[in-house]
Symmetry: C2
Subunit: 334 residues, 2 copies
């Protein structure tokens, strides 16, 4: 193997076959992929969930994660948010000529490790290489297939007045971790991405309350944008309580310095859940007993007033409107 990726690694010929065998098949060892047919196949019965996400994060490595871990978690989490058990992932790579093969191997190993944790298999893939200067290191697009649990019906259009809004932990960690790495900033504390596969956490939550109404991962646009989408589609109001929002002091400080509102900063290991009030305690307890939910909190509630509007009760006791994100706070953080 050469030290850097060449155009021929994307040719479909001998060099590409060697890359596939030595790097991909070795890392993602599973029979569906090893068959090396034009499609991976498996028996399936039930309600299929299908999703995709592209990843262009810069830099490729950042505190607590990398583009590979991000790509697996992003797609696994989109499946989990539909009440599905994540099963199979596809992996599409677009590589800039000259990427160090060592970097690619490190990312592929990270993908394999995250997939093992999330209990999904990488069953099909594709690699393209473009000339130097025509991409930026590596772009990753994953798609995923899962099976929706029987009896579960999750939808962003299902929130009802009286429901509680739950969140599994601190906000803004991912966006701040990436921007601090990119810009060489430190914020008086080690901020790491929260990037995590949430299939197990969501399974525990649904076991505690199969009637959970909405699940969403607040990635680009942050918690504010996600809640605006739910308020809009469910035609309800949402009232947040600022004091209840979990946030690390280092992230709060970084946001203040940079002029960001942490409610708009991307998360990659968070789930916003809308839960009937009488099941909120049970779901909260289930979240707190899971490693990815120890700092879970009830952050607000659904109301019948002001359909489509999200408001925040501030620490000063005032109320302000929380709009959907306008502009682009932090490009290329995922």
């Amino acid at each position: 193997m050469t030290e850097r990726i060449l155009l021929t690694h994307g040719s479909g010929g001998k060099t590409a076959h060697r890359l596939i065998e030595e790097v991909f098949l070795a890392a993602f060892d599973n029979p569906m992929l090893a068959a090396m047919e034009d499609s991976a196949t498996a028996e399936f019965s039930g309600r299929l969930a299908f999703t995709t996400d592209g990843f262009v994060v810069h830099p490729l490595f950042f505190p607590g994660g990398d583009i590979g871990k991000l790509a697996v978690c992003g797609t696994v989490n989109d499946l989990a948010m539909s009440g599905a058990v994540p099963l199979y992932l596809s992996l599409g790579l677009i590589i800039e000529e000259g990427l160090p093969v060592a970097d690619l191997r490190r990312i592929i190993d990270s993908i394999a490790a995250t997939a093992r944790e999330a209990e999904v298999s990488i069953v099909t893939g594709d690699t393209k290489v473009v000339h130097r200067g025509k991409a930026d290191g590596l772009f990753v697009t994953t798609a995923g297939v899962g099976r929706v649990r029987d009896g579960v019906s999750i939808s962003s259009a299902s929130a009802a007045p009286g429901d509680k809004i739950l969140l599994n932990g601190t906000i803004g960690d991912h966006g701040v971790a990436v921007v601090s790495q990119r810009e060489g900033l430190t914020f008086g504390g080690d901020v790491r991405t929260d990037c995590a596969p949430l299939g197990g956490l969501v399974a525990a939550m649904l076991e505690a309350a199969p009637g959970i109404r909405c699940l969403r991962d607040p990635t680009r646009g942050g918690v504010a944008t996600t809640l605006n989408e739910i308020a809009d589609r469910s035609a309800v109001g949402i009232r947040l309580v600022e004091d209840a929002l979990p946030i690390r002091p280092a992230v709060a400080g970084a946001c203040e310095m940079l002029g960001f509102d942490p409610l708009y900063v991307a998360n990659e290991g968070k789930v916003v859940a809308v839960v009937p009030a009488d099941r909120a305690d049970a779901v909260l307890a289930a979240m707190r007993s899971h490693p990815y939910g120890r700092e879970a909190a009830v952050i607000g509630e659904v109301t019948g007033d002001d359909p489509g509007r999200v408001t925040l009760r501030t620490r000063l006791g005032t109320t302000r409107i929380v709009e959907m994100l306008t502009g682009d706070l932090l490009p290329r953080i995922c």
Copy 2:
């Protein structure tokens, strides 16, 4: 809508929502996508086929097609080659800031039209935008889900001595069309891509002979590389007849000028089928009655000699070995 794509079109916020509603939802009108949840869902029962492909073709538009048509056909064809009925596609876009919105709309319309022809739905998607100079216009990654027909068992490891090798038409058209557009060359004839969704053709072939052994689309690496893969996995020899290979005079001339062997040039609307000898005539007839198979031909046969080796009987009556592609003949033709 602005005239050019901005970073905010990939932010997940208001501008991104507008792009999704005005461009994507309008073009890909279907209820699974319109639900706008984190995953698309549908009931499914049977053998699932799952595949992915990335597209980085340059230029984005070329005679007879564009990156959008290519992306739909590539994934539909990978599903069809597994004996599956293609059903659902995901669409991941990575856009360079500054791409004209008119170009994006034209490509999205082409994706929608090709999906309609192929009878698949675009059910989920994702859009990322990177800074100017960090990508090259547009990269597209599609993944696809289909249902393998009952009683069909297609595998590149199933070819057996005596089987016939069938091809649905002329070779090399796609690669030559793209390179001629890119380099501003003309070859004394209008060469257009052969890019086409082959689900319907393959359905007709399988109806004529459910026992077809292998189906492969000879894209990157061309017919030569595809046949080497089959010879290797099935541990058989393959004997081609040069005179039997359908090739347009303009493509043959272009390849001679450029020093290419058309056996290695990519196709995007071709299928190589390995068929038991007693069903070859029936499959050939089915191919020739289909619009995408009018120039179908038997191009060779499987032998028990020289397992793993592909040979060509030339017009001069000599025999030469046809290796798998080494190097990269034509970067970024898909």
